[in-house]
Symmetry: C2
Subunit: 349 residues, 2 copies
Amino acid sequence: MSLTIALDGMGGDAAPGIVVDGAAQALERHDDLRFILFGDEARLQPLLAARPQLAARCTLRHTPDFVAGDAKPSLALRQGRNTSMRLAINAVKDGEAAAAVSAGNTGALMAMAKFVLKTLPGVDRPAITSVMPARRHPIVVLDLGANVDCGPEHLFQFAVMGEVFARVMLGVEKPRVGLLNVGTEELKGDDVVRGAATMLRGSDLPIDFHGFVEGTDVTEGVVDVVVTDGFTGNVALKMAEGTAAMFTAALKEAFEVGGLRAKLGYLLARPVFQALKDKFDPRRYNGAMFLGLNGVVVKSHGGTDALGFSAAIATAADLVRKGTNERIIEEMGGTKPAAPVPDAQAAAS
Amino acid sequence: MSLTIALDGMGGDAAPGIVVDGAAQALERHDDLRFILFGDEARLQPLLAARPQLAARCTLRHTPDFVAGDAKPSLALRQGRNTSMRLAINAVKDGEAAAAVSAGNTGALMAMAKFVLKTLPGVDRPAITSVMPARRHPIVVLDLGANVDCGPEHLFQFAVMGEVFARVMLGVEKPRVGLLNVGTEELKGDDVVRGAATMLRGSDLPIDFHGFVEGTDVTEGVVDVVVTDGFTGNVALKMAEGTAAMFTAALKEAFEVGGLRAKLGYLLARPVFQALKDKFDPRRYNGAMFLGLNGVVVKSHGGTDALGFSAAIATAADLVRKGTNERIIEEMGGTKPAAPVPDAQAAAS
């Protein structure tokens, strides 16, 4: 069955080129996709004309407005009603598209998506969720930056959503869930993580709660799902990205100053380096899900290329096909007794 | 002039062996050091007897008590008055030693050090401070885990102390100071980091405040001093450590499965890998300073070896010789007008 994805044609450092090329690449591997492409016709039409296979599966919707990369999210929300980003989200709301993908301003995308689509029942706040490489296996990490201040109940909800995501999207039968903390002992951390741990331990959901994990446990892959607030999660992700980049650069430099012998070694070992590069290629992991929204919205890295953007499209299609949101709704239905219920009215809501 | 360092002989995974060996190694490079070694005489005496050069510069003080690695800090503080850790800190307080070094329980060491030594004037809380490798140059990062909850005024104080540390210990003439955040724009983050940024911008201290930095800026070395709360700092440090370990392991594995050609390449490139390994050797960066205490206390990584422990001793000696605490007191004297002054009484204190 064909599946339609709404694309923000103008979002991302190298838009609209990477959006159109990314869609074309996604279509090569998933030939049942259809697209609605929002943005500046004058720029998009020639790009589509050069790719007839894509053009045949793609509807172009012109809008001159777009959200700037440095726009303030609240301002973009108020003034950006005709932007390519907003119209792509509206298409999901209206049922025209099954999902929206954008490489644009993350804060604006989250603000608009929350406003237009609202959250799933039982979810207070959506979380930016992504798959990251770890030593033993890929892992799911959330929140990566949507919520800088969280209460225990938000981390609890992230845990439930992340667990579903790992089962559905990574195919892990019984994902282990860990709360990111400064140590593994029960007493470590602040009230928020300790409160979330208490809620997870007390929940009668069938979640395999591992307890607290440290930064080194994340990269080791001690658990399948790492739950944290958006401040810590964002720093953690970028520290990992930065360290990998530093390591790669240092390796390159060391070979450059290593003389002839090192150069020969490099030539011989080139397939090894290539395999390693492929393994950690950030484009493979591109496409962060705004988990907890009543609709599928995927954020591509702003600096990605067409290959990376096609991965974000594939993630969006996969999320829809595997019914991730439906599974979260089912699971959230079971969480009510575990969440704190302040009064009868709240319990009935 | 000789300088005396108090050593917790029983702290660390491989204590007391690494403590005694580490002291012996430190003495080889810094022959004016003296040590007071606290711990179990029955275990320490034979180790010293085998190292006559060290024994001649080392006073052994017997105590059967020590702080367990998993001891609760508050309990260790109340019940650990005769532990090797506590006695080493007392030696600094009593003026017998210029600094204390321990590879033991971090929380207990911090609790005891704060209780015994108190903080420097103008400093509310000590911060765990360490030097980390970054792409352009080594950087100073604090707090790495002492204070999971911080207010803007604490981050402000960390910034002042970290700037002094970078000048004194790394020899950076005009260190740039950054606040770790989820983005570089002024609006990003929570009230704590935004409040600290306001205080730093408004301060008339001669601090080169760069503004906010992200995780990728940390590893790039965009600034010389990275200021953050203990929760985020601890996660950031361990994510960097974990990512480096993951990368190294993946490189090793890729060479192992790469066949004969890869093995030959590895042999030729071995000096390159060795240079890289040395560059990022965590033992080179071992020794985290409890900055802001009225005394020098250095925490060695619990899992380090003798070489790592000797680096922690060298850091402690360097901190004393360079008068780091005296420089912080001077600098803090100038900060008063910038800190919020709620009432006249507080201003007079």
